[in-house]
C-alpha cells in the first residue's frame, strides 16, 4: 500500500499547483484525496494524451503541474508526450500507475501485458523513472523533480501499489 496523503504531501513540498490526469484503480484514493486538497487543482482529461499538452500550457503559464495517468494511458499518449513535454523541454514530472506490476513476478503465469510494455517503453522514450513500492519510496517524487529541473525534460515515478 502507498499512502495517498504522503504522496500529496510530497507534491505540496514541491509546490505542485495542478494535477492533470485520469483516474484508475491504483490511484482511486489518491484522486479522491486530491479533490479535497485546496492547494492543488485536479484537471480531468478525456484521454491521456491531452494531459501532457495541458500540463505544458500550464507550465509555460507559470504553474507547476504533474501528470497522473495509468500505464495504459502512457502507451496511448506517446506522440502527445513526444510533441509537447519532450519537444518543448518541459521539466514535467509524471506519476504513472503501474497496472499489472505484480504480474511481472516470475512465479505468476498470467502476465498483464501492459506491465510488460511499461518499463521497456519508458526506456525507449528516454524517460528516467523509479518504481514506488511503499511509503519509504515516496522521496522518489522529490528526486524526479530534481532530475526534471536539471535536465529540462520529463521524469517519471511509477505507482506500483494501490494508494490508500
Amino acid at each position: 500500500m502507498l499512502s495517498a496523503s504522503k504522496i500529496i504531501d510530497a507534491l505540496k513540498d514541491q509546490g505542485v499547483t495542478h494535477v492533470v490526469g485520469l483516474a484508475d484503480n491504483l490511484c482511486r484514493v489518491l484522486f479522491l484525496e486530491l479533490q479535497e486538497e485546496a492547494s492543488m487543482e485536479v484537471v480531468h482529461v478525456s484521454r491521456e494524451g491531452e494531459a501532457y499538452a495541458i500540463a505544458s500550457g500550464l507550465y509555460l503559464g507559470g504553474k507547476k503541474p504533474v501528470v497522473l495517468i495509468q500505464n495504459t494511458g502512457l502507451l496511448e499518449s506517446g506522440d502527445a508526450y513526444r510533441g509537447t513535454s519532450w519537444r518543448m523541454e518541459i521539466p514535467q514530472v509524471m506519476l504513472i500507475a503501474y497496472r499489472g506490476f505484480n504480474s511481472l513476478d516470475p512465479e505468476v503465469d498470467r502476465k498483464d501485458s501492459v506491465a510488460e510494455f511499461t518499463e521497456p517503453t519508458l526506456k525507449a522514450w528516454n524517460i528516467p523513472y523509479k518504481v514506488m513500492l511503499g511509503d519509504d519510496d515516496i522521496p522518489m517524487i522529490e528526486r524526479a523533480f530534481k532530475i526534471a529541473e536539471n535536465t529540462s525534460k520529463p521524469a517519471a515515478v511509477l505507482i506500483a501499489e494501490t494508494t490508500s
Binding site: 495542478h18 492533470v20 487543482e41 484537471v43 480531468h44 482529461v45 478525456s46 484521454r47 494524451g49 491531452e50 501532457y52 499538452a53 495541458i54 500540463a55 505544458s56 500550457g57 500550464l58 507550465y59 509555460l60 503559464g61 507559470g62 504553474k63 503541474p65 506522440d79 502527445a80 508526450y81 513526444r82 510533441g83 509537447t84 519537444r87 518543448m88 523541454e89 518541459i90
Partner: protein, 187 residues
C-alpha cells in the same frame, strides 16, 4: 465558403494582447501576419493537441484571452477535448476551428465524415454552450469581434475553402518558441 487567408488577416487586425496558438494550415499564414512572443505555432509538436495546450495556458492565465486556431483534422483527432473544455470551463478560452474538409498540409486528402460530421453539434453535445458556425462573409463580420469577448469556452467554426499550405516548418525550434512564450507570459 470563406477564404482562410482573408479571415486570418481580419482576425490579426483586431488582435491586441491575446495569445494566439496556431497549428498545421494556420501556422505559416499567421506567422506572416504576426510573429510576436505571444504567437505560438504548435508545429513540430503533436497533431491534435494545440487546443489542449491552449487550455493549459488559459487555466494558468485567467486574465488573458487565449485563442487557439485549430484545424478540422486536428480537432477530429482529439474530440474528447470538447468534453475536457466543458468540464473545466475557462472564460478566457476561444477556439477557432478552420473547417475545410481536408488534411490540407499533406495534400488536401478528404477528412473522414465530411458532409456528415457536425462540429457544432459535437461541441454542444459535449457541454459547450457558446458555439457558432460561420459560413458567409456577413456572418463572419458579425461574429469576428466575439472571438475576443465571448465568454469561454467559446468555439467558432469557420467554413473555408481548401487552401494550399504545405507542411509547416519554423526556423525557431518549438523549445525556443515555448521559452519565448513563457518569458512573455511572466511579465
Amino acid at each position: 465558403m470563406l477564404n482562410k487567408y482573408t479571415c486570418l488577416e481580419k482576425l490579426a487586425a483586431l488582435r491586441k494582447e491575446e495569445v494566439v496558438v496556431t497549428c498545421m494550415g494556420s501556422a505559416k499564414p499567421w506567422e506572416k501576419l504576426s510573429d510576436t512572443a505571444l504567437d505560438f505555432a504548435s508545429v513540430d509538436s503533436a497533431m491534435g493537441h494545440a487546443a489542449d495546450f491552449a487550455l493549459g495556458l488559459a487555466i494558468a492565465k485567467p486574465d488573458r484571452r487565449i485563442i487557439t486556431i485549430n484545424g478540422d483534422g486536428s480537432m477530429l483527432m482529439c474530440l474528447g477535448t470538447f468534453v475536457t473544455l466543458a468540464q473545466r470551463p475557462c472564460e478566457n478560452y476561444t477556439m477557432i476551428i478552420i473547417e475545410n474538409g481536408t488534411y490540407e498540409v499533406t495534400g488536401n486528402q478528404k477528412l473522414p465524415g465530411v458532409g456528415k460530421m457536425d462540429f457544432e453539434a459535437i461541441a454542444r453535445g459535449s457541454g459547450i454552450e457558446n458555439v457558432v458556425t460561420v459560413e458567409t462573409e456577413e456572418e463572419f463580420e458579425e461574429h469576428l469581434p466575439w472571438v475576443f469577448t465571448e465568454t469561454g469556452p467559446a468555439v467558432f467554426i469557420w467554413k473555408v475553402e481548401p487552401g494550399d499550405e504545405g507542411v509547416p516548418s519554423f526556423e525557431m525550434s518549438i523549445a525556443d518558441r515555448a521559452a519565448r512564450l513563457k518569458k512573455a507570459l511572466a511579465k
